[in-house]
Symmetry: C2
Subunit: 152 residues, 2 copies
């Protein structure tokens, strides 16, 4: 079930962060922000631990990268996330001016990039990243399946 070629290092790191979230009882999703290939911010789901409904992996990673750069725009930076972003996270990605978005598994039930609200497709969205999907898809899906199966 593993990808037949080595995963890009940022997505491998995002998957490690997703595993760490699962160990803490949080939905296993991880994200990293890179600039010129170097990780400058990372995060995993922290909703329960932080009592914060906005603490999705993408938002945590974007906030960390923004503080690191001292800029609320991450122009030219890329975001790698193990699951298709929801509407909140897609909006955050747009506000941050992320250049390229690399996504692991699709999320037909909660995603808002290629499903549902399709946040990047409306004129009210003022910045759209380039989108690359399916990177580390099987690893990401497997983590989520195991997590939810254990809780049923």
């Amino acid at each position: 079930m593993s990808t037949p070629f080595p995963l890009p290092q940022p997505m491998a790191r995002a998957l490690d962060l997703a595993r760490r979230a699962a160990q803490a009882g949080e939905v296993p999703i991880g994200a990293v922000v890179t600039r010129d290939g170097v990780i400058i911010g990372e995060g995993e789901n922290r909703n329960r631990r932080d009592s914060d409904p906005t603490a999705h992996a993408e938002v945590v990673a974007i906030r960390a990268a923004s503080v690191a750069l001292g800029d609320y725009r991450l122009t030219g930076c890329d975001l790698w996330v193990t699951l298709e972003p929801c509407a909140m996270c897609a909006g955050a990605i747009s506000h941050a001016r992320i250049a390229r978005l690399y996504v692991g598994a699709a999320d037909p039930k909660g995603g808002a990039v290629e499903h549902g609200a399709r946040v990047f497709t409306h004129p009210q969205c003022h910045h759209r990243p380039e989108l690359y999907s399916g990177i580390g898809e099987s690893e990401s899906s497997s983590l989520l399946r195991t997590f939810f199966a254990e809780r049923r």
Copy 2:
């Protein structure tokens, strides 16, 4: 140009927060979260000050309320915001399980509740607040108009 009846106190407070944002050079938008009519979290746009693309008024107010309650769900709480939420903030409102959403001015250019992505209308959105629009609309619009006119 003022509303011909007294504004509800939470929206009056949200407008005060919007004015404070403008004084700090941030886009004048304010928000408060109430529970049983009592303000339990509040916020204003802080993107520039915090180097945080996610620091919209709604997100700041939701984070404050969630930490205050020690819960990542604000079930039964209401959110008052001076401008129609964007996709990011609409998503955050849904994740937080906000019961009622009170909005000041509409935002045809960036809104995602009654415009654009219409985040609450898709099956991928798992919680929809009751929506009340146009509360403090003229005050909110006036603040935004003045802010942007001074910067042109």
